[in-house]
Symmetry: C2
Subunit: 343 residues, 2 copies
């Protein structure tokens, strides 16, 4: 069996697909064959003549995640029935763009683990990771150019620009505690919703053009809910299930929706504790736990859950007028999957 074949056979057996695997398997079912073709194409794209690229690519394939964005793209391409053949290379390009951003995020954060496996920067070097991210991105775009699909190129280069803008806004933030809910909404739209809605929109371009607006809007609401849940998980899940310490965002003084909501109503003594926490460059585990408690007691988690549910419901509404196909059902199931996941 070729390396690509082996990778593809393991398409659904990646390390972190175990949690919520049942529902993810059901979601993927209508596009399972296409998804395996995407994994094969990704493997081929990173199987480069340069040994270093091949080694890094191999590791990326081994640590790849749930392939959620290509799954969404493929499902969207099938909501009217069969998708066009371009769906496979387009889904490949979307996942490679996603990988490129993860590789750069891990490199600049000096992250050691992702999905329970060593990051590229920890295994190879920081320098190589930055350039590998560039390679993944330009390879993805080369493939899009080869397809000649200017619409898809337009959607995906715009999403990439959005993602880098969001990341820069976050990095440049100087007074974390003045970060408003509007700022947060704009940030997660750039950081997460942009590529998910782009994946859905590009999916519509190869088989479901009549539902372009609906699918774009579904992807945007789903991506927003996805990030809110992600930010909640940082407050609620223990180290065992996330593979990263609870409160990691707080440790890095990143302010997300639960804290933003809690800050609006918390009494002065709590606020003083939070202020002290944000003034401490290296907060202890105990002080992180205390802020998590304060956020919970001041309704921050409840508020974020409500907002997440609101976006989930918007995502479902966007699908109302679509034909009743198995792909549409999987898109609906994807919403529950996003809302119920714990990592």
């Amino acid at each position: 069996m070729s390396a690509a074949g082996a990778a593809s056979a393991a398409a659904t057996a990646s390390p972190d697909s175990s949690s919520g695997a049942a529902s993810l398997a059901r979601i993927r079912a209508p596009v399972q064959g296409l998804l395996e073709a995407v994994v094969e194409e990704m493997s081929r794209s990173v199987a480069n003549d340069a040994p270093i690229v091949a080694q890094m690519g191999h590791h990326l394939m081994a640590m790849r995640g749930k392939m959620f964005r290509p799954t969404l793209l493929l499902l969207c391409s099938e909501v009217e029935g069969a998708s066009e053949p371009a769906a496979i290379p387009l889904a490949t390009a979307v996942e490679m763009i996603h990988l490129a951003t993860l590789v750069h995020d891990d490199a600049i954060d000096h992250s050691v683990l992702r999905r329970g496996m060593p990051t590229l920067n920890s295994l190879f070097s920081h320098q190589l990771s930055v350039i590998m991210g560039d390679f993944l991105y330009s390879t993805a775009l080369s493939r899009l150019v080869a397809l000649g699909n200017l619409d898809a190129l337009r959607v995906l280069t715009r999403a990439s620009t959005e993602m880098s803008l969001g990341e820069m806004r976050q990095l440049a933030m100087t007074n974390a505690l003045s970060f408003s809910e509007d700022d947060y909404d704009a940030l997660i739209r750039s950081k997460t919703a942009s590529l998910m809605s782009a994946a859905c929109e590009v999916g519509s371009l190869c088989g479901a053009r009549d539902y372009r607006e609906e699918l774009l809007s579904y992807g945007e609401s789903l991506g927003t809910a996805f990030q809110i849940v992600d930010d909640l998980i940082d407050y609620t899940e223990a180290r065992e299930t996330t593979g990263k310490p609870t409160g990691l965002d707080l440790r890095e003084h990143k302010v997300t929706l639960p804290l933003i909501a809690a800050l609006r109503v918390m009494p002065a003594p709590d606020r003083r504790i939070v202020d002290d926490f944000f003034a401490d460059p290296e907060p202890s585990d105990m002080s992180i736990a205390e802020v998590i408690r304060i956020v919970g007691e001041n309704g921050g988690l409840d508020y974020a859950r409500k907002r997440g549910a609101m976006f989930a419901s918007r995502a479902e509404q966007a699908l109302t007028g679509l034909p009743d196909t198995v792909a549409r059902q999987s898109l609906i199931d994807s919403i529950s999957y996003v809302m119920e996941r714990h990592s």
Copy 2:
């Protein structure tokens, strides 16, 4: 005067254009107006709503270099007479792609100065620089997509992929002294010649399609000569003219053509000195000067000069069949400019 207008008025007055300014001004003359439009378009592209992007973009515009790649592109677009209007946005995209690679190179090398000015990573942060590089690259591609020019997109995404491959090969090199002349040729083709030949090829696409092959080949030879001269300058020029210490490549244990050539013929005692030098993680200025002397005495500089001249002559030959226009004359002058520059 708008910020873009002010930037454009200073198009030829950037900090490092003084050396060889006379000949550079003559080279630019046929496309001076277009070049000013390119500078304006670059300023607009980085004048973002996000204050951090605007600040970083402003600094990039202030430290911009000779705009050599857009100059080549514009000249190539005029070798048959007037160029098409797309030449301006295409030249803008090429310079932005070039900037993106410089920003990433400086970030991963933790360079403090470029062209005598502080780098983005030293002035802002390493993290912001990596993402700013991503932003520049995806913005450049968005603009190419908006033009709908798939040919240009094909050429430029291929060049970007080549550049990242070259950089990774160089970063992954473990035994520097086993680096052969073939390896070196492949490396500088990826690192430097790829984008220069892409600039020339894209130039041909907007006004000189009949000379696409010739201009591509001119750009490749010119780019190769350019990098050989760059590597020679590191051996020959003093700190005052380069703005960086002589022997910087050697200090970082980077092996370039002068050393590769000298290694082939140097006597055993010299070789032992070089071996010791490469085993020393932090070589002294004195030992750098000694290796530079050994390389010179063993004909390394002469060999590299001869190879550079050979590529310069190939670049000139590529222009033989072109119409006798002022643009063609400027392309010929560009070869002397590349060969005679000292920084």
